[in-house]
Homo-oligomer: 175 residues x 2
């Protein structure tokens, strides 16, 4: 029940952040009153979805990092783990949350990504002259693009992470 509502909210609010709760309830196959029983106010629902999205990406990345040897392998594992969660990204990007906890976690995630960039530089995978935030933004962008292309059916899910990693490190130019 709770889960069905949260899934529906990711889908509906991800496409249109201004959608009504009636739409979310309908998508979840649930009465509007029941939605309010689980999430008294709209903000409660939004906060719960944000928290759930972040929990899932954190868990996915944590599992991916487990006994990964190099930073490059870590990056590839993270891409493989996170690209399928692209709809979560879409949802988070579509909102501008003012919640303090949410903002703090977002900052922490960004800092973790920047730390990964540092490691990649230390291991000579990423060029040292690449700006830190530029690199982090590019990783994010590759995740976004890969998910979009997979969702559109133009790219096989199995190929997505490798293509993203290759593009990120070597670009699209002809050798």
């Amino acid at each position: 029940m709770r889960e069905a509502i949260l899934d529906a909210a990711i889908d509906v609010l991800g496409r249109n952040p201004g959608a009504s709760l009636a739409e979310v309830a309908a998508r979840a196959g649930v009465g509007r009153a029941s939605l309010h029983r689980h999430f008294p106010a709209r903000d409660d629902l939004v906060a719960a979805v944000i928290r759930r999205c972040m929990d899932e990406t954190d868990a996915a990345t944590a599992a991916a990092v487990q006994d990964a040897g190099s930073a490059r392998e870590t990056l590839l594992r993270v891409l493989k783990a996170v690209i399928p969660l692209g709809d979560r990204y879409h949802f988070l990007a579509s909102l501008s949350s003012t919640d303090a906890e949410v903002r703090a976690r977002y900052e922490a995630d960004l800092e973790w990504l920047a730390g990964l960039v540092d490691s990649l530089k230390k291991e000579s995978v990423i060029a040292p002259e690449a700006p830190r935030f530029w690199a982090a933004a590019n990783i994010d962008a590759q995740i976004w693009i890969a998910w979009t292309e997979v969702a559109a059916g133009r790219l096989a899910a199995a190929d997505a992470a490798d293509l993203a990693l290759h593009t990120l490190l070597e670009g699209l130019g002809k050798r």
Copy 2:
């Protein structure tokens, strides 16, 4: 007057697509009634902003393409011309328009970009094995990232296009 309202709408609705027309009018320094005189309904305003954004990007790219020798030079000029229009991108991305004309123009722009990718492949700038839409999506992403970093003050505007082009073609990896 009209222009001031459209500028305000790009700013306000770009940040928050659900913002009220009162906010747009206030940002424009205009009475709410005057806004309705120029744009009878909300949809009229939104459609006008979309059309204006597309006109500006089309004009910018058309000027950039003027007597550009190679496809690579065309790409660089387009990046230089379009990155400063990032707020227009932000606005367009924040909306999901159902207007037929708007959708048709969007498809046309996308096809133009894909055609540029084809030219880049013919000139051996982009590797032939790079998927067409993947490449186009990456060009879009570089524009987005570059504008974001410039807007955040982390990147000099003069460096943005070159960095974007370099990242697009050669990636972030160490040579």
